[in-house]
Symmetry: C2
């Protein structure tokens, strides 16, 4: 029973990793669809989202079964609750990719080179945050999780810079306003994905610390007993 349970937890980690890979791919494709104004790529993002939604339901179901059948305690319970939250965060990231791909239509026509450099740059950092936050969870690595939180500031800076670039566009006309709006919204969607990755990273830090604090309090309990 115990061994079976730990196999199931391992299975849960693997499923979340697969889901995370799909989300990373959908982010990549959504940005490509925007950069190349490629409607076929945008369509791929939309159908990937269906798959990601199905993964979410499947993982949610696994968590529910683990809770109902195994009635885990303490650390395992906290782990499954974190898995549920992370599952939800990943699914929302997929929604943001869909939003981004949706703007591929608004972005045909000429674009500022500087803007077109900053969006893929942001996207690269964001994809890395997704992958690293999930790895931090699977390995229970608080250091790796903290590195993700630091990267969030970088994304915020890029998002602000893009906003200012757009405000400083010379001679805005209705065409360029439309493109600028799409740019800002793409940037905001990337920034939300970064926030969701940061949520995951904070969850990991919380779990690891709870374990550490528990460990310490057990140690001090032992010391208390020794002192008696």
């Amino acid at each position: 029973m115990e061994r079976h349970f730990h196999e199931q937890l391992q299975k849960l980690r693997e499923k979340l990793t697969v889901m995370s890979r799909s989300v990373e791919e959908s982010i990549e494709k959504s940005i490509q669809s925007v950069m190349l104004s490629d409607a076929a790529l945008a369509e791929e993002v939309f159908s990937m989202d269906d798959a990601i939604n199905r993964m979410e339901m499947d993982i949610d179901d696994d968590c529910l079964k683990l809770l109902a059948l195994q009635q885990p305690m303490a650390a395992d319970l906290r782990f499954i609750m974190a898995a549920m939250k992370i599952n939800n965060d990943l699914e929302r990231m997929g929604d943001h990719s869909v939003n981004i791909a949706g703007y591929s239509k608004s972005l045909s026509g000429p674009r500022s080179v500087r803007l077109m450099e900053n969006i893929p740059k942001m996207a690269r950092i964001v994809r890395d945050m997704v992958s690293e936050s999930l790895a931090a969870f699977v390995e229970g690595d608080a250091g790796r999780a903290r590195a993700v939180c630091l990267k969030d500031d970088e994304v915020d800076r890029l998002d602000d810079a893009l906003f200012k670039d757009i405000l400083n566009l010379p001679h805005p006309d209705s065409e360029s306003v439309s493109r600028s709006l799409a740019m800002v919204l793409i940037s905001k969607n990337l920034e939300r994905i970064a926030d969701l990755s940061t949520n995951i990273a904070e969850e990991v830090i919380f779990i690891v610390q709870a374990r550490t604090i528990k460990h310490h309090s057990e140690l001090s309990l032992i010391e208390d007993r020794r002192a008696r």
Copy 2:
């Protein structure tokens, strides 16, 4: 023990209702801060968010304790998992209010009357969706939840209309572009709150249906037995 457990579930419902009221108030204040360019109101939204974050942690903790100590089965387990998700959704709505209040600075100066009508109109519908989705959860009322889902389409329509209004602004200059960007982002934040309310409503429909399906399958089991 059983009675104690149901009292705790009732307490959970009450805490989520209190949290929802705070979120509704923070949405209201954030929109007011934008409409009146009122920095003091924006500050109130920021400090309300701290309170909302603390509520989230408290409710999360309650859910964890209920799961660990009571080891609930089936319907109760599903209810607690839904409460956890809703708790998370409400906390994120608070974040969106903070985003909106943050734009109060960008929005001083002249504004289009039509735009300034549409934002409060959207906000009213969105606040109503928050309150109704929570009421649907507390009462387990799928009909009320379905009404929330319908309102989401209305919000999407208003968001699209606002986007088009901005694209059709005559003679955009860098000032009006800046205001337009803020408007679009406020509208998108309201739309995200509407989406989160729809998540809650869908969760309620899912719970009620699961109960109904289970009830039906138990009925058909009885009928199967009778048929034998």
